[in-house]
């Protein structure tokens, strides 16, 4: 005895009036951009993150000194305080010099480069692996699903740092001693990546299981479309949002994880320092008065992690309108 509703019900949130076309316009008009514009904190975070990334990428061109060119260094400049001239060279140190006479500002620029590279690569690795396994588990279900998710469960219950330490240890055991240094950065990426895939897998699997039951997927399956094609064309786009959110927050986590590992002395070599290595070096001078060696890298690390975290946080809220 129902009144039929032939017309689609209007969406819960009323859509915007018609807008001009074009991808840029569409973006500028989108809800995402709107919510971005409305949040000064997010704008600040974006600017900070982009600035830090830009500085890191352009370090070889804009850093005042090349901290890895021994010819430009003078050990005797070591511990020069901020905003002063090195006693044994023409070098001027805005953020002071470290224990090796390197310009702290320059080492931070190059160090962010290493940190960001490791962070991005590790997250990319974790994302690829997690999404792949999550899709596989969610789409196939059964035994495959059980095995993959059980491993993910185990892994999620261990702190990433412990897993990364273990993986790092294994890698060290397998790689010949004289290649360990050149491989260190890749080992680090592998270790951090492997310790973070489970989050992606879990989310993607859940979304995949929901999507799998939908009619259009069943239809595609009945029509004999190859599963991989179904996954890529139909299911993947639907899980991209959450993946992006986890990826952003994962990037911040990876950066911190890299710093912690380097701090514990199992990261990149001190001659090619990341932010974590710089902090480890600087921490030794906490009580001796050379605060700048610890302070500036620490602040940079916190700013980087914080701004990326803020972005991830905002993205999660923006992509999940329920939380607004």
């Amino acid at each position: 005895m129902s009144m039929t509703e032939t017309t689609p019900p209007p969406p819960a949130t009323p859509p915007a009036p018609p807008r001009p076309e074009g991808p840029l316009r569409r973006f500028l008009d989108s809800d995402i951009f709107y919510s971005w514009k409305r949040s000064p904190v997010t704008i600040l975070a974006t600017v900070t993150a982009l600035t830090l990334i830009l500085i890191a990428v352009l370090a070889p061109w804009i850093a005042p000194y090349d901290p890895f060119n021994p010819a430009s260094l003078n050990l005797m400049d070591g511990f020069t305080p901020p905003a002063s001239q090195g006693p044994f060279s023409d070098n001027w140190f805005l953020m002071g010099a470290d224990n090796q006479g390197r310009d702290v500002l320059s080492t931070i620029m190059y160090g962010s480069r290493v940190s960001l590279f490791v962070g991005f690569m590790a997250t990319l690795f974790a994302m690829t692996m997690g999404v792949g396994l999550g899709l596989t588990a969610g789409y196939n279900g059964g035994m495959i699903d059980a095995i993959i998710m059980r491993i993910a469960d185990i892994q999620l219950s261990f702190p990433a740092i412990l897993i990364a330490l273990l993986i790092f240890g294994v890698a060290r055991g397998l790689i010949p001693a004289n290649q360990q240094e050149s491989m260190a950065i890749w080992v680090l990426i592998l270790a951090i990546g492997l310790s973070n895939w489970a989050q992606f897998a879990r989310t993607v699997r859940g979304a995949t299981m929901v999507e799998r039951e939908k009619d259009y997927v069943s239809a595609a399956r009945i029509m004999g479309v190859h599963p991989v094609l179904i996954l890529l064309r139909h299911i993947l786009p639907n899980v991209l949002g959450p993946v992006l959110v986890i990826g952003t927050i994962g990037l911040a986590l990876a950066i911190i994880e890299e710093a912690t590992l380097s701090f514990l002395g199992v990261g990149v070599p001190p001659t090619q320092p990341s932010l974590g290595t710089l902090i480890r070096i600087g921490q030794q001078y906490l009580f001796s008065g050379e605060w700048w060696i610890l302070f500036f890298p620490a602040v940079t690390l916190i700013l980087l992690a914080l701004s990326v975290n803020l972005l991830g946080d905002w993205l999660r809220d923006a992509l999940n309108p329920k939380l607004r």
């Binding site: 005895m1 009144m3 039929t4 509703e5 017309t7 209007p10 915007a16």
Partner: protein, 326 residues
């Protein structure tokens, strides 16, 4: 003439969005008499539920009552402080939600939810409240109420849960029950039972009902009067029998045409062409004008006000402009 139990005057509910202010409900005026059943019918998004929510004071922010007044038994209630409004909810106005599966807190026993509600509203001991709760469950037709009362919601079927919901809405004997699509989520076979239980219990207690539904059939069987809503406004209001037999508003006419007659194939219902406009794009003039078969020129430019056509009936349509004047 008795005093109306509830009087709504010019109620307007607005939602500010980044694309401007959306008016979900506009200029609603209606009365409900004690013990009366007022049906409110319309398509989804017509503003029926919003009107119910506004009356009980549960509009989710950022929505707000922009204009208008709501009076309950001669007391204005739309501008009460939250605590005073809370005292009215449940005690004076009860509400029944659409989906019994989600209306009950899954982690609490039925007894807990009933006793808590009763004791919030009435000064009663734990034991007395529990006795009353069992009685209520019995009243709404839960078999073996004394035993089932300590079950959890998930141990009941949908129909039984809606009976529990009715018991919860009625447990402090409110004067008015707002039933928001109380049967929509239920199996067709139990819909009639639920409506019967609700109507009977309210009648016993002298409670009026505001029955919000998109099911004209339910209205026809249950309501004393009906208000037809379209795009946030009342299109027509009047006694059910009159409105069904003799619809005034072209939209109501279309709606009545959509009621299946006995033996008619349900698949082949007469339909009104087109769709209700979105709230963000309500056309100028009468909101129904793009779909209206009897559209006049002035319908496209001027909005008709709700005006009486005959005693007890009001219509918002230019077709009847001057009827009262005549």
């Amino acid at each position: 003439m008795t005093e109306p139990l509830l009087s709504v005057r010019g109620l307007t509910v607005e939602f500010p969005t980044r694309h401007g202010i959306l008016t979900a409900v506009e200029d609603i005026t209606l009365d409900i008499m004690p013990g009366e059943v007022l049906g409110m019918v319309g398509e989804s998004g017509a503003g029926k539920s919003m009107t119910g929510n506004a009356i009980i004071g549960l509009i989710e922010p950022p929505g707000r009552i922009a204009r208008g007044e709501i009076w309950l038994k001669g007391r204005r209630i739309d501008n009460l402080p939250p605590e005073e409004m809370r005292a009215i909810r449940g005690r004076r106005i009860g509400m029944i939600f659409q989906d019994p599966l989600t209306s009950l807190n899954p982690l609490f026993r039925i007894s807990d939810q009933l006793v808590e509600t009763i004791r919030t509203q009435l000064p009663m001991s734990q034991d007395a409240a529990r006795k009353r709760a069992i009685q209520l469950l019995d009243d709404v037709g839960i078999p073996d109420a004394a035993r089932r009362i300590d079950d959890y919601p998930h141990q009941f079927s949908g129909g039984m849960r809606q009976r529990v919901v009715i018991a919860l809405a009625l447990c402090a004997e409110p004067d008015l029950v707002i039933a928001d699509e109380p049967t929509t989520a239920l199996d067709v076979s139990v819909q009639a039972q639920i409506i019967d239980v609700m109507k009977q219990l309210c009648a016993e207690r002298g409670a009026a009902i505001l029955l919000v539904t998109h099911d004209m059939g339910v209205i026809a069987e249950t309501a004393d009067r009906v208000a037809v809503m379209y795009a946030g406004r009342i299109a027509e209001i009047g006694p059910v029998r009159d409105v069904i037999k003799n619809a005034r508003h072209p939209y109501t006419e279309g709606l009545m045409g959509a009621i299946p007659r006995l033996g008619e194939n349900l698949e082949r219902l007469q339909q009104i062409p087109g769709a209700m406009p979105r709230l963000s794009a309500i056309p100028k003039g009468c909101a129904f004008n793009p779909r209206c078969p009897k559209v006049l020129d002035r319908c496209r430019s001027h909005r008709p006000a709700l005006s009486p056509t005959e005693p007890g009936r009001q219509v918002a349509c230019w077709l009847y402009d001057g009827v009262t004047e005549a």
